[in-house]
């Protein structure tokens, strides 16, 4: 499941900046933490983050699915080409430090993807737009960010419609990998061309409704913020900065 899911969890109710800050902290934290234990904690934090948003099952499934090819690649690369000592694993001998390295890298990727999917599922694009509008952020930037959050669900919805239409015309989706790859053509082409054609009209429609104007937009229902959330966002920033400082201090040592 990719995209916003209506809900009443603490993450849904939080100010959108707070949820995004938590997701951002996971992302930047992942690059600062390099040891297996640290990465383990990072993954645990990502799991807690998703659980707080009550989207753990759907987000974790998608995160694992998306990061699975990366896990396989990491294990093959680091396991086979990593340094000594090696451990017999069936017919092959895998590098022990290589496997540890693959676990660290795979954990970081999974934590990032899980954090991102949780933010996608719990940050309402509408509330985010209202928050940014209330802060006087120019519409172009607001639209860019909100569109990023909505593009995947929209594309998926469109792809489903196209697939159904193509199946009505006799497209077969099952069979060998080659047959499945062939079936991608009738899906991808209308998906991309249709999206491009509709973008033209949407640009016109937004322009006609004053989106390109210079006036500061009026926020209709800006989400409530609080001092505690404000403080939490600063604390997250400080935490990430501290993680990087720790990383560089260790590297120098």
């Amino acid at each position: 499941m990719i995209g916003y899911v209506d809900g009443t969890s603490p993450l849904h109710r939080a100010h959108p900046y707070t949820t995004l800050a938590l997701s951002g902290a996971l992302l930047f934290g992942a690059f600062a933490l390099t040891r297996p234990l640290e990465v383990g904690l990072l993954v645990l934090t990502a799991v807690l983050f998703a659980a707080t948003g009550r989207v753990l099952r759907s987000s974790a499934q998608t995160a694992l699915l998306l990061s699975l090819p990366i896990w396989i690649l990491l294990f093959v690369l680091h396991g086979l080409l990593g340094a000594e000592p090696r451990m017999a694993f069936g017919p092959v001998a895998l590098s022990v430090p290589g496997i540890a390295r693959a676990l660290v890298l795979g954990g970081r990727v999974t934590a990032i993807v899980l954090g991102f999917l949780t933010a996608l599922a719990t940050v309402s694009p509408h509330r985010l737009v209202e928050a940014m509008t209330a802060d006087g952020v120019p519409f172009g930037r607001t639209f860019l960010l909100a569109s990023t959050l909505t593009v995947l669900p929209r594309m998926r919805e469109r792809a489903t419609q196209i697939l159904e239409a193509q199946q009505c015309r006799g497209l077969r989706l099952g069979g060998s990998i080659v047959a499945r790859l062939r079936a991608l053509g009738p899906l991808a082409l209308p998906l991309v061309l249709g999206a491009l054609a509709e973008v033209d009209e949407q640009v016109l429609a937004l322009d006609a409704r004053g989106a390109a104007g210079s006036a500061r937009r009026t926020a209709l229902d800006p989400p409530p913020d609080s001092r505690a959330q404000h403080a939490l966002r600063w604390a997250l920033l400080a935490l990430v900065a501290a993680a990087y400082a720790w990383k560089f201090w260790r590297m120098r040592g």
């Binding site: 016109l204 429609a205 004053g210």
Partner: protein, 253 residues
């Protein structure tokens, strides 16, 4: 009446096109006008709307020759495909309709009042709390017309606005147009529905291959109605009656 848009021998060519989409077009739209524009598919009716409202070439690109004067402060456009005009950023119909006035930076109360009035005019108040992407095509089309009206445009251009509507809703929508025009808006209506257009239009133009081939009263121009076709088939001499009352008058004579 004040001229809101004046086109004098205007020719418009889309970027990369060999032939112009509009050629040598002259017309004037004044406050209070409901001008119907008819023509076969590809005749240039949609392009005329874009040129008259200033969106071509400013937004869509292309080259414009001739003289165009737009005195209107604000122009609204509604396209035939309502789903391409959704902002994708609003979670309710009320917010979707209020998007335009909010972009103008008007006070919140004014924005909400404008949205409420527009929804009342289109009889869609009951949709105010619904999610826009969950509406039917007909409901969405009325929402988009309301969204354009909420901007209080001086010129309102509608491209086949009843394409998604059932006959009853189409009648209701066309009935709104004289009311909008009476409030001082110039309405430009591109439509293949000659009968309904004839009922509400004050003037009409017919286009063929981008050129104006007929201009005058609806009775003179909108001759391709069901009634006119029946009269032609029955051997009635021209000018053909274009609606039932004019057919009855002819029969009585």
């Amino acid at each position: 009446m004040t001229a809101l848009v004046v086109l004098e021998r205007v020719t418009f060519t889309y970027a990369g096109a060999v032939r112009p989409a509009l050629a040598d077009v002259s017309l004037e739209i004044a406050a209070g006008d409901v001008m119907a524009v008819t023509g076969e598919s590809g005749a240039g009716t949609s392009t005329l709307l874009l040129v008259a409202t200033g969106f071509a070439p400013r937004v869509v690109g292309g080259t414009l020759a001739g003289t165009r004067r737009i005195a209107a402060r604000r122009c609204g456009v509604v396209f035939a495909r309502p789903w391409t005009q959704l902002t994708g950023l609003c979670s309710t119909v009320r917010d979707e309709v209020a998007f335009g006035p909010a972009s103008l930076g008007l006070p919140r109360a004014t924005v909400l009042a404008a949205a409420r009035n527009a929804m009342e005019t289109l009889h869609i108040e009951q949709l105010a709390g619904r999610e826009p992407s969950h509406l039917s095509g007909g409901e969405l089309q009325r929402v988009m017309v309301a969204a354009a009206l909420a901007m209080r445009p001086d010129v309102l251009a509608l491209d086949d606005p009843a394409a998604e509507l059932d006959p009853e809703a189409a009648d209701a929508l066309y009935d709104v147009l004289p009311v909008v025009a009476a409030a001082g808006t110039g309405v430009l209506l591109a439509t293949p529905d000659s009968e309904r257009a004839g009922r509400v239009a004050t003037r009409a133009v017919a286009l063929a291959s981008g050129r104006i081939v007929a201009e005058g009263s609806p009775a003179e121009v909108l001759t391709d109605t069901e009634v006119a076709r029946i009269a032609r088939a029955a051997g009635c001499p021209p000018p053909y009656p274009w609606d039932v009352p004019s057919l009855l008058r002819r029969v009585e004579r």
